[in-house]
Structure formats: structure tokens, C-alpha cells
């Protein structure tokens, strides 16, 4: 049985506690979030506002010249709804000169440049505002590797990375994220008309259900086919998950000594706190 619905009260309690604990124990009381106008960053923003108070959350809007005006408006709805502090830092002046160097640059490279420019802005605001960057990647996109390494996946802590897209939607609704944000098709908004599902070639609902069986329930791929999933779809998703493992870990260090960071030098980040 594929049952993705969650107790949102419990999720809310655990995730706001997580944000509070992991910020304050390292000496911070504030958070910085890149607000795209989409549902994932809206949920992270709502959780952070509830965890540490809206005045301690800085939502940063970072439009590029090709970004949809809807994205800015939707982000504003979220800012107004949760009462967080906000800032708009267009990235066109940063990204456009680099992109202009190659007139034939494919969309993927442009998208990566934009995502990494936004990361630079967020980490700069992290220093300026004195807050940690709170991540906005959900479990579905982390598993599929649908993100830019050192771009939108860069953060200090991630409260929503163990929630599938459908669960993000459920929790976002429970927390009062504006319906316009919840209802619109997910998009990285890197170029006009881009949607996640168009780019991936399948829907998040399908991906959520399959990943739930593969990852959470430890089904073998063949068992997923027997459970009714299209074989080619299963193959595609399994390959994506494997191919993008590198995005889910720190770069491997070549071992030479008897004790090496990553292999046998093992401490939690919360060491001593």
C-alpha cells in the first residue's frame, strides 16, 4: 500500500523544533531563505517563521531577467502571509555577463549559473543578516538529483528534505501557504515555460509513489513493476537516483593516512553542542 499522507501537526512540531535547535545550538537565532515563489521555499519559510519568529527570518527574492513576474508576486504573497523580513536582489547583473560570453549557451548551463548566483547572494546575506541558510530541497528532488550542485541545494540545514513532494504540499496547506503557490505547476523558473514535470518527463505524483516503494519500503525494481509501475519509468528513476548520488554527498577524499576526514574521523556537526 502506498500511503504518503502524514500527520501534519507532528511534522510541524518536529521540523520547527529541528530548526530552532540546529540554529540556536551553534549560536544563531536567525535564518535566510531564498524565496522563489514556489511551494518548497514557501514551506521552509513558514517553518522557519514559526520556529524562530518571522522577524528573525529574511526571505530573499532573486529574480533573473527571464524569471516569470508571477514568481515575484507569489513570493510576496508568502512574505505577507508569514510576516517575514524580505529583500529583493536581482541576479541579472551578476549572471548576464557570464551568460553573454557564449551566445549559444544551452539552458542547462544558464540555469546552473543562475542557481549558483543565488547561492552567492544567500550566503552573502547569511553573513550580513547573521542567519543560517535554510534549505528548500524536498526528498523527491534530492533523490532524483533534480538540483544544481552548490546552487539551490546549498544550505546549512534542511527541514524539508525527508518529505516527498506530495507531503510538502500537504504540510504547506496545513501551514497556510497561499493556495496560488500550492496550486501552480512546480518550476525552477530558469526559462520561460519551464516546468519540473516537463523536464523530468514524469509527474511528481508518479515519482513520489515509486520512490516511496524503492526507498522507504525497500522494494526491488522488479517488485515495483509487479506492483503496477511501467518498467521503463522504473528504469529511468532507478538510473537517475544512482547517477545523482554524487549530489548527495561531500566529495570523496583520497585516503593516504591512518585517519582521514570522511572515513574514520567521525563526528556529528552538533559535536560539543
Amino acid at each position: 500500500m502506498i500511503e504518503l499522507s502524514i500527520n501534519t501537526d507532528l511534522a510541524r512540531k518536529i521540523l520547527t523544533g529541528f530548526i530552532r535547535s540546529e540554529l540556536t545550538r551553534v549560536g544563531f537565532s536567525r535564518a535566510v531563505i531564498g524565496l522563489s515563489g514556489g511551494i518548497d521555499s514557501a514551506l521552509s519559510c513558514a517553518l522557519a517563521a514559526e520556529a524562530i519568529g518571522p522577524g528573525n527570518v529574511l526571505a530573499v527574492r532573486m529574480p533573473y531577467e527571464t524569471s516569470s513576474p508571477d514568481s515575484l508576486e507569489h513570493a510576496q504573497l508568502v512574505i505577507d502571509r508569514f510576516g517575514v523580513q524580505s529583500l529583493t536582489v536581482p541576479i541579472t547583473e551578476m549572471a548576464a555577463p557570464l551568460i553573454a560570453r557564449e551566445p549559444e549557451m544551452p539552458n542547462t548551463r544558464k540555469g546552473n549559473i543562475m542557481a549558483r548566483c543565488r547561492m552567492i547572494v544567500l550566503y552573502d546575506q547569511s553573513e550580513a543578516f547573521g542567519g543560517l541558510v535554510v534549505g528548500t530541497s524536498n526528498k523527491t528532488e534530492i533523490l532524483l538529483g533534480y538540483s544544481t550542485l552548490y546552487g539551490d541545494s546549498a544550505c546549512a540545514i534542511n527541514p524539508i528534505g525527508d518529505l516527498y513532494k506530495a507531503q510538502v504540499r500537504q504540510l504547506a496547506r496545513a501551514m497556510g501557504v497561499p493556495e496560488a503557490v500550492i496550486a501552480k505547476p512546480p518550476s525552477a523558473d530558469l526559462w520561460t515555460g519551464q516546468t519540473d514535470e516537463g523536464e523530468l518527463g514524469f509527474t511528481y505524483d508518479e515519482a513520489d509513489r515509486l520512490l516511496y516503494l524503492l526507498v522507504d519500503q525497500r522494494y526491488r525494481p522488479q517488485e515495483c513493476v509487479e506492483a503496477g509501475f511501467d518498467e521503463a519509468f522504473v528504469r529511468t528513476v532507478v538510473a537517475r537516483v544512482r547517477r545523482n548520488q554524487f549530489k548527495r554527498m561531500l566529495p570523496p577524499i583520497a585516503k593516504l593516512s591512518n585517519r582521514t576526514v570522511g572515513y574514520d574521523f567521525l563526528y556529528l556537526r552538533d559535536w560539543g553542542t
Partner: protein
């Protein structure tokens, strides 16, 4: 008998800070006339120690700087504390110490170290090799730590060894979020605690960590069940709390008159069948 369940957060690897919290809660428990206070697994050190393990170990002896104040405090109230025990051969154990009247009454070393899934205890700790009940001023008692009671044999052995009160401690990472109002990990632990109280007709108390270590949450929810399996007290989920339960020890008498499972337990049969199974 008044039992205090201390579900606390800890500072990872900061034994002195955790000791201060212990002494403060011991004071609170005393103020509420508690006779015994039960701290969670690794309450003096934090749970996910990894390479911190050798730097946070202590010996449960009078001249240890951490145990001295605890032993002193145990003149006023009995206590169970969780720590890393380093033996004379420098093996490290996840341990519970029962302290009373300035003495170390009993030390239990965790006998089942989960080393699978999100757990990696067997990498850092040695396996304990005894399961013994011991006498206290409240009767005979047994202590188990987390994974110890995911196996049925340790509580069973304690029961046969005379324990009428099981003192269970955990640092149980919360997991299994679904539609239920509790996490799957909480539901399961409460389920077996109640089951042990029922089938062994004994008191079962459980104290669990709260707080976070990196992305792990600990869910708290301390409980005490009586020999009928009735819930006597429950702490809140995910929050620090000192939960007080009053145990009417005469309930053992009443339950076992009604339900003489202990009297009828056929230990010789268990032994002969175990011998047969193990000799295969």
C-alpha cells in the same frame, strides 16, 4: 514508591554540562518527594558519539569527578544514569548505573548494539555480556537499554532472575512519520512496554531522550505501566519533562493472585527446549 522519569536533552560530548542538568533535575525530583529518578540512555554524554566515545568515558567510582557528585546526591534519592563505561582493558560500553545511598548498586552494559540502518553502535562500543536483576530498597529490579528490549530474551531473563520492576532507558531516534498521531518508533516502544508489563505482570518504566542531534529527533514520551498493563504516567512527546508516577507495589500481589503467570512459568521446559534447539 514515587518514580521520576527525566526525559532530557543533552549536550553532545559535554559531560560536565550534562552533569549539571542531572543535578538540577535530581533536586526537582527530590522536591517532589520522588524516591528514584530514571535518566535516559547515555544521559551524561549524548547519543551519537562516534569518535567522541573514548573522550567521554567515566568509571562509576567514588573518586571519579562526574560520579562523585552523583553518588553524593544518591544519599537523598536513588537514580539510574546513562554513561560510557571504560573497563580496565579499555573497552567502551553503553552503560546504566544504579546509584543509591552513596553506593553503586549495579552497572548494566548494553548487550544488544544496533549496527544497521541509522545505527552504528557496534562500530564504537563493546557488547555487554550479562543480564542480571539486583536488589534495591524497592524490591528486585532489572535495567535494560533500548535495543536490549527489542529482543524478548533480556526482559524474560530479568523476570526469571526476580525483577519486579523493569527500568528501561532509550535514546530512540524518532522515525516513521505517517498519519498517526505518534511516530512509528514511539508506537512500537509503547506497545512492547505495555506487553512486557502484561506478560511478566511487573512494573515497566521507560525514560527516553528528547532534543536533536544533527537531523535526528528524540521523541521522549516516558511511560510507566503497572502489572496489569495499565498506563500510570506518560511524559510529553519531544519536550523536556520530569514525569512523576506513583507505584503501588502491592499491585504485584493482586495481579499475580489473579494471573499467576510467574508461578506457572515452566523454566525447565524452556531450558530443555533451548538445549535441544541450540544442540542442532
Amino acid at each position: 514508591m514515587k518514580l521520576a522519569l527525566a526525559q532530557i536533552n543533552t549536550k553532545l560530548g559535554d559531560v560536565e554540562a550534562n552533569l549539571e542538568k542531572h543535578l538540577s533535575l535530581i533536586k526537582d525530583a527530590r522536591a517532589q518527594d520522588a524516591d528514584l529518578i530514571l535518566f535516559p540512555e547515555l544521559s551524561l554524554t549524548g547519543y551519537t558519539l562516534q569518535d567522541l566515545t573514548p573522550s567521554v568515558s567515566h568509571r562509576p567510582v567514588d573518586d571519579d569527578p562526574i560520579f562523585r557528585p552523583l553518588l553524593e546526591a544518591s544519599r537523598e534519592i536513588d537514580m539510574v544514569v546513562g554513561f560510557v563505561d571504560e573497563d580496565t582493558r579499555h573497552r567502551f560500553y553503553i552503560a546504566n548505573a544504579y546509584l543509591s545511598q552513596g553506593e553503586v548498586v549495579h552497572v548494566h552494559h548494553k548487550v544488544y548494539l544496533p549496527t544497521y540502518g541509522l545505527f552504528d553502535e557496534g562500530r564504537f562500543f563493546a557488547w555487554g555480556d550479562s543480564i542480571r536483576a539486583f536488589d534495591t530498597r524497592f524490591g528486585r529490579v532489572g535495567m535494560l537499554i533500548c535495543e536490549d528490549f527489542w529482543h524478548a530474551s533480556p526482559p524474560y531473563l530479568l523476570w526469571l532472575d526476580g525483577a519486579d520492576i523493569l527500568l528501561l532507558t532509550s535514546a530512540s531516534p524518532g522515525r516513521g512519520l505517517n498519519n498517526d498521531e505518534r511516530l512509528e518508533s514511539a508506537r512500537w516502544v509503547e506497545h512492547v512496554n505495555r506487553a512486557y508489563a502484561n506478560v511478566f505482570t511487573c512494573f515497566v518504566a521507560h525514560s527516553n531522550r528528547v532534543g536533536y542531534e544533527d537531523g535526528l529527533n528524540f521523541w521522549g514520551g516516558a511511560t510507566v505501566f503497572d502489572p496489569n498493563g495499565a498506563l500510570l504516567a506518560r511524559g510529553p512527546y519531544h519536550e523536556e519533562a520530569l514525569t512523576i508516577a506513583t507505584l503501588d507495589l502491592n499491585q504485584l500481589h493482586r495481579t499475580r493472585v489473579r494471573l499467576p503467570l510467574l508461578r506457572d512459568e515452566r523454566t525447565r521446559l524452556v531450558q530443555s527446549e533451548l538445549n535441544r534447539i541450540l544442540s542442532k
